[in-house]
């Protein structure tokens, strides 16, 4: 397995007038994995993706996609050839039928997998004879996805792919992403849907106000992030619990609630040193971690 990153940015910035949409972003996406790009609306997800694809120019900083520089026009063409992109605003030829656009697109890509395209057409229940302009939003997304994966791209980038899909559609989308990854495609998708991110991602990057605030493997999150609820006879100072791994402390009456990314054993130990009457360790999910990370920053 190759180890050079599929995507790498250094100090990437994009400003629109006085608005700084992306600021000093250092992002690394490893190949052959599924990486989620999580953030609130307006956090800078789409702007970042557009810069990666050479659709807009960075104000400052640099980046590479599959080893090619995003600010170099010649490289940018090569990037767009090797990377498939599924976006919110679909730029499909609306006067063509589903069948026509599939045939039309296949002509541009030598590695086109027509068996996969046919299988997905059935799976997604896309009507071959219907004009693209008469498709529902969910159907357009599925068609866009079909066109993207049938190219068998080295890297598949999706911007909020589950927007406008019903639960069955989301399930089919996730299945398709998993299959693509198994076939050797690196998957990078932006989302604000925690549940889908939690299921299929290997890695989650959180962007907030244009900067990266978290980059963690889901395995590590599940294994080491914990909430520790402590009841004291007399409450100690919060400063006594500012330890390695402590992400947040809240105090109410005699209770203290700590969220920790690691070092839970030492925190429990410290609580006992302060004569805690009860210490409860509970799980903390990606939803809480995400909300807390964006609130903090």
């Amino acid at each position: 397995m190759t180890c050079s990153p599929a995507i790498e940015t250094a100090g990437l910035c994009k400003s629109y007038g006085s608005t700084r949409a992306v600021r000093d972003l250092n992002l690394t996406v490893q190949p052959n994995r599924i990486t989620a790009f999580l953030g609130l609306n307006g956090a800078g997800k789409s702007t970042t993706i557009k810069m990666l694809l050479g659709m807009i120019k960075p104000t400052a900083g640099s980046g590479t996609v599959l080893g090619r520089r995003i600010d170099n026009p010649a490289d940018s063409v090569a990037i767009r050839r090797a990377v498939a992109f599924v976006s919110e605003d679909k730029r499909l030829y609306s006067y063509m039928t589903v069948e026509q656009i599939v045939r039309f697109t296949s002509g541009f890509f030598p590695g086109w997998r027509s068996d996969l395209a046919a299988a997905l057409m059935r799976k997604y229940e896309l009507p071959p004879g219907r004009k693209v302009r008469h498709l529902s939003k969910g159907m357009r997304t599925k068609l866009d996805l079909l066109l993207a994966v049938s190219r068998h791209p080295a890297l598949l980038i999706l911007d909020e792919p589950s927007e406008g899909l019903d639960p069955l559609g989301i399930e089919q989308l996730l299945e398709t992403l998993v299959t693509e990854c198994a076939d050797g495609t690196t998957v990078f998708f932006s989302s604000h849907q925690i549940a889908e991110v939690e299921r299929i991602s290997d890695q989650v990057c959180v962007i907030h106000k244009g900067g990266l605030v978290m980059d963690a493997s889901l395995d590590a999150l599940r294994q080491s992030w914990r909430q520790v609820d402590i009841v004291f006879a007399s409450i100690p100072d919060q400063a006594d619990f500012q330890m390695v791994g402590v992400e947040r402390i809240r105090t109410r009456g005699r209770q203290m609630s700590i969220v920790a990314s690691r070092n839970v054993e030492a925190i429990v130990e410290r609580a006992r040193d302060f004569q805690a009457s009860t210490v409860d360790v509970t799980l903390v999910g990606l939803r809480e971690i995400f909300l807390q990370t964006v609130e903090e920053n």
Partner: protein
């Protein structure tokens, strides 16, 4: 083999998968020489990253519970080591049952006992860096 992974459990998905395969071997649901689905097939079925399945399979191979043949798939190996592991689990189960009975005798409610067990298990054994 029926596998159900929980995204809300405090355990990486690959570890859950390993445990459920081990459990299926202990209970006899999987026998020596049985073939497991390929990485791609199982990842599609469970809708999890193929990396999750690959990691579970390779760790189980390391333990000696699975043999991976390139291209042909994964095969269950019931050997002395896995059998011994099954015996250990059986012995542990008896001790846990005994402890639960005693705690009940001492007046603890099942919910409290469950919380104590779960809380105890959530203490990490190995430190893993989670953020930044």
């Amino acid at each position: 083999m029926l596998i159900k992974l929980s995204t809300s459990a405090g355990q990486p998905l690959y570890l859950q998968l390993m445990q459920q395969i081990r459990h299926a071997i202990e209970t006899g649901a999987l026998r020596d020489g049985d073939q497991l689905p390929g990485i791609r097939t199982l990842a599609e079925e469970l809708v999890v990253s193929p990396g999750t399945v690959a990691k579970a399979y390779s760790e189980l191979e390391h333990e000696g519970a699975l043999a991976l043949h390139h291209g042909a798939g994964a095969f269950v190996c019931v050997n002395r080591r896995t059998r011994r592991f099954g015996d250990r689990v059986q012995a542990a189960r008896e001790r846990v049952d005994h402890l639960i009975l005693r705690l009940r005798d001492e007046g603890l409610l099942d919910d409290e006992i469950r919380r104590l067990f779960e809380g105890g298990l959530l203490l990490p054994r190995v430190e893993t860096v989670g953020k930044r």
